[in-house]
Subunit: 227 residues, 2 copies
């Protein structure tokens, strides 16, 4: 699977979060495509990149409830309606579409009555509307809030989750997750992350145990109700 | 009242709709501020324009469920968080905020299951979120769908509604509307629009009659329920 990560950030060298995520892109089968570092772009080359990808990610910091202007400029120039849905030909149909959005606010601020008043899903409606118009498959949002407050272990876990978001088959499931982790074990680049992998596995096992006992209880309940 | 109309459109000379709306701005106490025709802008001058306005309108054609890139670039550069809400000082607080959005799609396409899948209110969440963050008062959206299919009378009616949107006190009411129309009668510029005004008045009177009879019925109902 080929993943294209379209990154919009006007000052990417100063962004610890973006530099951190870039490591993740380099560890998996994904292409980092930073828009602000292109002085101009060729519409047709950009479209070729899109056509070759199976999964397309828009990645950006949230500026005024939207991507930086560079992404919008790219959308306005590259995505003609003719390319996206003209004459009933949907060139991006069935590709997967994901959003990686970083914010400086805590999770809880994204709800009615809190500082940001809207959920990230509500705020990002324009991108979902675009993906739907293009007949793409929408992945759940990957949000990163206040990266700089995270402890190192949490950051390493985030990196693994990010790499899964770029390359693991979706919809997510315990099975697909385990398969993905197994595949990564064979990847020498991950050697340094063995501890994180181990704890992820332990968590998976706990989840499994919990699922089993929940199922057992449900079954018990159903049996009881039949009596 | 001073109204600032911030217009984003990359090819404004080719836009019949924008040229038409520009006439409206020229007839009332409002300033037309077209971003794409500024090669660069001075952050501080832009902020002064905002500070001097009582009502701020963002006006644009909907490109991929959002404004053209020029507006986003302006937002990213002019609206620092420090200017908008820094240190608890809300420089734009209590100003009115409106959106004039033109689209090439019919009204009914903006709902779940139709071509655009989302309502315009949902799509425009980022602007509402910005206005709420700035402690501004939000006016209802002014949407213009498929302007080019409108008959001339409908276009003239639209122009009057647009001018009201720029200058009439809100929330809208029959009384405020009538007062606004009366004030415009004294404005010689409107001479050519007397027919439209007349039909607007007739409509107002019909609305009033209907309201009176509705009220009468409600009152009747209440009296009955007391028996």
């Amino acid at each position: 699977m080929k993943t294209l990560v379209i990154v919009a950030h006007p000052k990417i060298d100063d962004s610890t979060t973006q530099q951190f995520l870039k490591q993740g892109v380099e560890q998996v089968d994904a292409k980092w495509h930073h828009l602000d570092s292109l002085k101009t772009f060729d519409k047709n080359k950009e479209r070729q990149l899109l056509l070759r990808a199976d999964r397309i990610i828009f990645q950006f910091p949230l500026y005024w409830y939207s991507a930086p202007a560079s992404l919008k400029r790219w959308e306005d120039e590259v995505l003609s309606s003719n390319f996206v849905y003209g004459d009933g030909q949907y060139n991006l149909a069935d590709k997967e579409f994901g959003l990686v959005v970083t914010t400086g606010m805590p999770d809880h601020s994204f709800k009615t009555g809190e500082a940001e008043n809207f959920s990230l899903d509500e705020i990002l409606t324009p991108y979902r509307a675009l993906a739907m118009r293009a007949h793409m498959k929408i992945l759940p949002l990957f949000a990163i809030n206040q990266f700089y407050y995270m402890e190192e272990t949490a950051q390493m876990q985030l990196l693994m989750d990010y790499e899964r978001y770029l390359t693991q088959p979706y919809p997510d499931s315990l099975k697909k997750r385990s398969q993905w982790y197994f595949a990564q074990f064979n990847n020498y680049k991950f050697k340094n992350n063995v501890d994180v992998l181990k704890s992820a596995f332990e968590q998976s096992n706990l989840d499994l145990d919990e699922l089993h006992s929940t199922l057992k209880m449900i079954k018990q309940g159903e049996d009881d109700s039949l009596e």
